[in-house]
Subunit: 375 residues, 2 copies
């Protein structure tokens, strides 16, 4: 089968005149059995085969390393920026596809393809609107991707009336309002995100951590205020921050200095050393009372030596419960974030971002339970 | 008057035993007329006089340059991390105050002081709870700061039931639920933020840009999808993205290539050069139809040379309407963010962050109108 990518704009996105032009191209393609990506797109980047139709040179747009995230985007420009950002962050990509006006091939075709792609573990979607009456097919392909253990994360453009109008003005006409998409995303098992930042924060964590088995979060901190903020945000996102059972509190009490706040969050306070983190993790994680751990580990306290990174890594390896680290601060915090991530622990600058990621790990756990068939 | 900072913990935050101890200290202080900051705090950093009681050395906790942001924080640990983060970002600070258990001096005293401080233009608050019956005094001092043109931004810890309990466990007992604080913040003219990131994003913009005179936002982009996302977010935050009047659309049509989307957002499309931004800004800004501009300026398109930074700076200087830049991407985007900020234009990686900042500029305009007396 012959296949073509039409990068040029000047088609349906420009109104009646362009629509006519696109119709003509469509007829020709159909007649000769040619499948088309575009028009009005930047084409594809296949980071394993090396196919790269992005027309910007490396000095304008860097290419990320090989990895397991694939992106399907209605907007070529957004896709370019994300690719460039991922390259800076060293975040690996498998395939990136920009489909523009989707005269022929659309989101559903690409998700269908990525569901089978051995390199793709996470599928990111930027989507303004599906083609009319493709909702059911969309749900089916997303579920198929999920049945292979893949996570599908969507950022929807055109969620408000003005945003919808803006989207309609630069791509083909849109079929439905946001409520319909929310329902479709939910049915399909998609993790919907609110911002770009959240999308990549969650993608990073899903590559490093297994989905959570439930919603119970342990928050461990040496900074009371940051524990409070993490608790607020996690609660609002529907996570539980369970009160620790009496026997565990007693066990912790016996192992920790008396001024440590043995609750949830557990506040190790500013004179903590790395060992207190180890004690808490080794006491609580074997007891099956939490599903996710947020470890708030600013490295500023004088007695923190850095062993905390080993302790967190070991706890994750031993108990298999997903752990997310928060390290707020300047250069020393950035160093610790890098150290955590080199050991496979996703780490973030703020408790709010970590809480959103925790909620996504819980949501992906639910989704897999529901749709993967692996109970 | 003698004054003391008590850094030590081991007081009211530890329950009845500690409360007794704190009461004793309080009586002694009162008897001898000693004013106290703390206990259970890290004290103060005065970046102009050089007084610095933070007990962490520079290699653990860097100090930011002199500047015009002051912070009042119930949590010493949070304050430390923020200071360290600001140092990395080169964000200047005037004074930082951690008050811990506020046995004597509290938020209100410090805001009162900062309202008069000539170096302070922005006051950031991390607040878990006011002392009982200090609500009215709080409203008054905040309004006094605002009457001097200062912005007061608050991040509240303990907004949910579990967060509230966590806050209660590490500072003194709290008086009221979150609804009460929301009402107090609103009455006082505080800009309340939802996350740390938002707090600093907004503080940065308020230092660089005047408050907005209204809620009408112009969104200018070369990336359709990013314009859509900015529109969605700005709409949801209560901003208006007005449809441009017919005569302006015609004027723009006559000056721009036919495939440019002349609407709001204006999509200059991926083949844009820097000049198109200039044309739009110079056509629209003199006509008093928008109050804020979000310029989405990813530098990846081949015809973008960098002059856009001059054009945006000039437009701001000439017309005085606040402008916020969005530059999404990797190293080249980071360079452009720096270039914009060196010229006094606040710039962000994502459209969502810029939209939040735009909403804060509009809110601060409203607040000044209402409380500063300068109509």
């Amino acid at each position: 089968m012959r296949a073509v990518i039409i990068v040029s704009g000047g088609f349906a996105e420009l109104g009646p005149e362009g629509e006519k032009r696109q119709k003509l191209v469509e007829e020709i393609a159909k007649k000769y059995g040619i499948r088309v990506i575009g028009p009005n797109c930047i084409g594809i980047l296949d980071n394993f085969s090396g196919v790269d139709t992005f027309f910007l040179p490396e000095d304008r747009l860097r290419r990320p390393p090989q990895g397991h995230i694939s992106i399907v985007s209605q907007s070529g420009a957004l896709l370019s920026m994300w690719i460039d950002w991922m390259a800076m962050k060293g975040m690996g990509i498998a395939k990136a596809i920009s489909y523009g006006n989707k005269m022929d091939l659309d989101d559903i075709d690409f998700i269908d393809y990525l569901a089978e792609d051995p390199y793709t573990k996470i599928i990111l979607l930027y989507i303004e609107g599906l083609k009319p009456s493709r909702g059911q097919a969309f749900i089916e392909v997303v579920r198929r991707a999920i049945s292979k253990g893949k996570a599908v994360i969507a950022l929807k453009g055109g969620r408000t009336e003005r945003g919808f109008q803006a989207a309609a003005s630069h791509t083909a006409a849109l079929a439905s309002g946001y409520e319909v998409y929310q329902a479709v995303f939910k049915q399909a098992g998609i993790i919907e995100v609110d911002t770009m930042e959240e999308m990549f924060d969650i993608a990073k964590a899903l590559l490093m951590m297994p989905p959570a088995k439930g919603k119970r979060v342990l928050i461990l901190t040496n900074a009371g205020g940051e524990g409070v903020l993490a608790t607020d945000y996690a609660s609002r996102l529907g996570l539980e921050i369970p009160v620790l059972p009496q026997f565990i509190r007693e066990e912790l009490r016996s192992k920790l200095p008396p001024h440590v706040v043995v609750s949830n969050p557990i506040d190790l306070t500013g004179d903590t050393d790395d060992e207190r983190y180890k004690i808490v993790l080794e006491t609580i994680l074997p007891k099956n009372i939490v599903d996710i751990v947020i470890v708030i580990a600013p490295p500023h306290p004088p007695a923190i030596s850095g062993k905390i990174v080993d302790y967190v890594e070991n706890a994750y390896k031993e108990f298999g419960i997903p752990i997310i680290a928060v390290v707020t601060g300047g250069y020393i915090a950035e160093e610790y974030i890098k150290k955590f991530e080199d050991r496979g622990i996703p780490a973030y600058q703020t408790p709010e971002r970590a809480a959103k990621v925790a909620a996504a790990l819980a949501r992906f756990g639910e989704i897999l339970n529901k749709f993967s068939g692996k109970k």
